[in-house]
Point group: C2
Chain length 352, copies 2
DNA sequence: TTCTCATGGGAGAGCGCTTTCCGGCTGTGC
DNA sequence: GCACAGCCGGAAAGCGCTCTCCCATGAGAA
């Protein structure tokens, strides 16, 4: 078996800048200048260097370069999971949820074009968090996108204290001077309330998410506020954990306690799917007997039968914006803390 | 504002091994040995070093370490996208698909415990591929997990030629001596055929995926073979691209051409969701008029109404296995090429 | 002609770490 | 009492790259 072209045989030492320089008959410094397009270099040497690069199949060693430039071309996506343990199935659920995929897709749409790679990090324990922040300060990654998760996570604060460029998707639970991109969750929930009331619903219930997730509590507050404004001071509520099954259970509970509900706002589409199943079991027509409004406009909304009327959450756009914000922050360390809030809209389908 | 505890102020130079050594009153070499737990070091010095580490808040610089050890503690997840362009929406679809999330979840379940991070890479152009392989040879990552995508991708071959530890999830389209983990897709499709026939279906159709994806073509072949064995030499077929809408379109086409179908095998759950919608539109009862079997047992299967009878694809387990295989390969470069094939099973729900 | 100044290239000092090599010390067996 | 292992710690050589100095050269000004 022969080796084709200029390909370097396996196991052989890889060509270094030194080799390129030697072959081109210039110094390492000049070779480096040519390859990085820095300063004017004599066109003739320029050519010689590129020729040597071609002949050797030279590829710069990113690690070595990063060590001196303090730039890695990597952004970390950190999922901070302060509550669950390593063997908790929570993470499995998390990745399977459309949320994760949509975020990654949005981030990559921007990062890919910029030639930046995304490094996925999950931190659970205090030690892992400290470690992560340490690595980041060393420039393991140029910046961080933090995904908001349940609980009062110390990570955002640690990151800002350490001066690591960071952007959160979803606001932090505690007030921390960190950049973030979020949705006006309260307004979105308000839209759902308006719609259900306008439809003529008399008793509207709510299936909420975990109270310690900011996105969730904002939806709860926004919904209640809007309902109150419409004269519904009291809203029966049941809670789930954003999964389909929990939505089904919550709907059953709601139905048991308040058989007369004729409208329900579910804090995310996945739970709405479960709610739909529970309503089917209870022989309630949707939207005839009970109108259902979801939240997120994820793929689950169109998968549902009937298709879900839901609040649109432009997660891909938000993630893309977060990536852009982070890149700006990385290039300009002096940038002042800023946040971008997206406005939700109601997507009308058949369920309400 | 004061700085708490041993925390190092922002902007200050980070403590290096040199600093730790100086404070502990030992040489850099000894400090390194203590921190990495290499060789026996006098217990007293040992303690001195750790104390210095605590006082300075020292965290080893991973980059510098990797440069010399040639180990990064990173595994790359590469999505090779040889056909689409940068602005193609294909990638958005890809990340939103449960497939991606399930794979990441499975990988992380293993990698997280091993303290390895996952770096996401998307390569589209030839240049990006060359670049990627170059970076990998330099040890940018210790190994690669490759996701199989449409088309005859040159990447697997490039990787093996370069001697980069790699494991594919899903077999390569062309025969390449690369490690992979796959599902016996043909057997799975056969299970679906057996079930539909056993149910008494007279005319069974099929909604296939793209023909150039190995997983898809294996399902097609397996289904046809099994149907033939049951005496159904001919199977009407319509194709989609694994999305819900394409499934709906394909089902409509199938119904138009063969109104008498009373059973259909759909090559993945997402398309099955679409097929269900088309059947509903056409006023066919499922499973009464038409029985439907999906593939994957993804979250879409339970979201469907009626819930889908489907072929279980243990993607999380497979991804976890791929991660383990890769780690083994990394530690033992001499390991011979091996592949693991998972056996599918049929999950009975209501649609068939 | 001489001095100034701009320009391009080379030498070499690091970036922060691991690891080999070697010297000095202690303990054992004869 | 001596030779020989066996250990342990330090000095220093890198890993592959960038980038600051500094020098040489040549053009333009006085």
């Amino acid at each position: 078996m022969t080796t084709t072209g200029g390909r370097v045989p396996v196991g052989e030492r890889l060509p270094t800048l030194e080799d390129v320089a030697r072959i081109a008959g210039v110094s390492r410094a000049t070779a480096s200048r040519v390859i990085n397009g820095i300063r004017n270099v004599d066109p003739q040497l320029h050519e010689l260097v590129w020729e040597a690069v071609g002949r050797t199949g030279y590829v710069p060693n990113r690690l070595a370069r990063s060590l001196v430039t303090r730039r890695t071309g990597t952004i970390a996506l950190v999922v901070s999971d302060s509550e669950s343990h390593d063997d908790d199935p929570f993470m499995g659920r998390f990745f399977a949820d459309p949320y994760f995929g949509r975020v990654v897709g949005g981030l990559m749409s921007v990062l890919r074009a910029a030639g930046i790679q995304l490094a996925l990090q999950i931190v659970g324990t205090e030690e892992q968090r400290t470690r992560l922040v340490g690595d980041l300060r060393h420039g393991q990654a140029d910046g961080v996108i933090v995904l908001s998760l349940p609980g009062h996570d110390p990570l955002p604060r640690m990151l800002t204290d350490a001066g690591v460029p960071a952007v959160m998707i979803g606001r932090p639970a505690d007030p921390v001077p960190i950049n973030y991109v979020d949705l006006a969750n309260d307004t979105g929930a308000g839209l759902a309330a308006d719609h259900l009331v306008a439809r003529g619903c008399r008793l509207v219930g709510m299936i909420a998410g975990p109270a310690d997730v900011p996105a969730s509590s904002d939806r709860i507050a926004g919904f209640r506020r809007s309902m109150a404004r419409h004269g519904h001071a009291w809203v029966p509520q049941s809670s789930g954990n954003f999964t389909q099954e929990s939505g089904e259970t919550a709907m059953r509970a709601l139905l048991a306690d308040h058989p007369e509900v004729d409208g329900v706002f579910v804090a995310n589409d996945l739970m709405a799917l479960g709610a739909l199943a529970a309503l089917r079991d209870a022989r309630r027509e949707v939207p005839g007997d009970v109108a259902v409004v979801g939240f997120d406009d994820s793929s689950a909304a169109t998968a549902a039968e009937p298709a879900l009327t839901t609040v649109r959450h432009p997660l891909e756009d938000m993630a893309a914006e977060a990536a852009r914000l982070l890149m700006t922050r990385i290039d300009d360390p002096g940038m002042r803390v800023s946040s971008v809030i997206y406005e939700p809209s109601l997507v009308l389908r058949r369920s309400a």
